[in-house]
Symmetry: C2
Subunit: 303 residues, 2 copies
Amino acid sequence: MAKNWTYVPGAEYPWQYRYEHMAVTTDCVIFTFEDRQLKVLLIRRGGEPYKGQWAFPGGFLKMNENAKEGALRELREETSLTPSAIEQLGVFSDVNRDPRERVITIAWYALVRPSDVLGGDDADEARWFPVNNLPPLAFDHSQILNAAMERLRRDIHFQPVGFDLLGEEFSIPELQAIYEAILGVKFDRRNFQRKILSSGILEEAAPEPHVDESCLKLCRMPAPIEPMPYAGANSIVDAHLDAAPTPKARTFDAAPEASIDTKSNASPDATRAKSRPGRIASLFRLNKTRYDQMKDSGDKFEF
Amino acid sequence: MAKNWTYVPGAEYPWQYRYEHMAVTTDCVIFTFEDRQLKVLLIRRGGEPYKGQWAFPGGFLKMNENAKEGALRELREETSLTPSAIEQLGVFSDVNRDPRERVITIAWYALVRPSDVLGGDDADEARWFPVNNLPPLAFDHSQILNAAMERLRRDIHFQPVGFDLLGEEFSIPELQAIYEAILGVKFDRRNFQRKILSSGILEEAAPEPHVDESCLKLCRMPAPIEPMPYAGANSIVDAHLDAAPTPKARTFDAAPEASIDTKSNASPDATRAKSRPGRIASLFRLNKTRYDQMKDSGDKFEF
DNA sequence: GCAAAAGTGTTTCGTTTACACCCATGC
DNA sequence: GCATGGGTGTAAACGAAACACTTTTGC
């Protein structure tokens, strides 16, 4: 069998093939939940094409790594993030999706806690954006985002997904806010609590009465959120255009003060920041045993 | 920006790149349901590597087609099949999964009716195999099959999936047999019937009493099936090795007479072939309107 | 007649849904 | 006190699971 490729050291184009080859990249859609909003991580492109526009972190896949390794490497290089788990979204392979050459991309998605701070070398150009208020995205990345949102809405029925978005300790109303934001519906507070407690996935965080005032202040629930609008391809862009007609506008957040600088240490209690008077919610933590059990059993975990 | 590739017409290796490029293929896992068994379509490889072994239909992705178009083209070329819908399974990208060069593959899966006959030029080398009695597969294709089986078991909860595996008209007990085979469980006949009828997805096929004996004979239910064993990577291969220790053995079917030749016209009533005495089951057909409605609503469709 | 398979109906049980009531907190 | 938010309980409604009875067919 004839060899289909050769390597010519020193040549300007040393990698030579009998048949045309395409390039392969990875892209990561990273979600977090902060300030009562679902947010995604974007980086500003430093080079052509789409220079200056926002895109998902990613890059070319190397020969000595599989797709998952490549996605995690690029993510770490560009944002210093290393999620505990990423899942494959799928391949996006439209013929003209990249003006340079034929490039297909393998998209991944992950959920991280807001306390996972960004601090990479390129961190100046990495920022969290609320999913319903995004700048225009490079390449076909708004299509990728739509796939990620759809996937998230589907996975939430089967996997205890909300916990990856929260800190170590959290209250049930906080968890409920995540489910409501992702699914765009409202649940009965009492039924939600009973259901999640009976599932056995939570354990009390502070059963002993060692409470002090400063700790309690951090545990309030944020104000009720309005359900997230459906994130269709156009509605996302439209929402941005309505809110910020000029691409130069820097106010990507619905609430300006919620816009965080990448370099600032995100508070682990960011999701609880905006308290209102009311009874203090009890704190829980994940029952890891039960969590793993549910993850690989494939049982429903629905609300 | 410097160009990263060049084309040298007439050269032995005309496609030349500044950076190393990998090859991209597509593979299709095609399921059908016949003789009370879930089956997959395999083709025997005519060239190296893995010459003579069985593999999923597929091949190299071309520059002027996206991944879905490429998968459908290869499938048509190799098996003459053109499923109405295929879905992306995911990318398999292990560094050494192909001995020739670095190759990643985009896997797809689809469900077809047993009446969709194979008749391509290479059809001699295409055959249906029961999923629990497979020959050794080339490349990492047993890993791909496992992903497809898992996906099928998951999708069946959300999509009215069984209908793609049946002919135009079918009885409810037939449909039940598919669900039981895929999920590996038994349902109460009466509850299954009530549930599926109340969903509105079926309409009566022969409401008028224009019945003649020859037609009725075709409408019997096959014998009860034993649940499909869990198709873990090893259990599949083991099942084959137990049943056919030598790779040359041709009896891949548990029931020898169920083994069909590719060239023989598969009967549309193959799933009803093995009748037992009993009352004749009523025939139904799909309510297309309701079917489309359920497909894109994402509602559950569970049994 | 008998066994096997299918159609129809009913009873029971558990889960979900929709509330009512009380407690804790900040202003 | 009062508005806001959280914790607990309960009754009604719905759907799922279990099971009885009858009909139709081949042998």
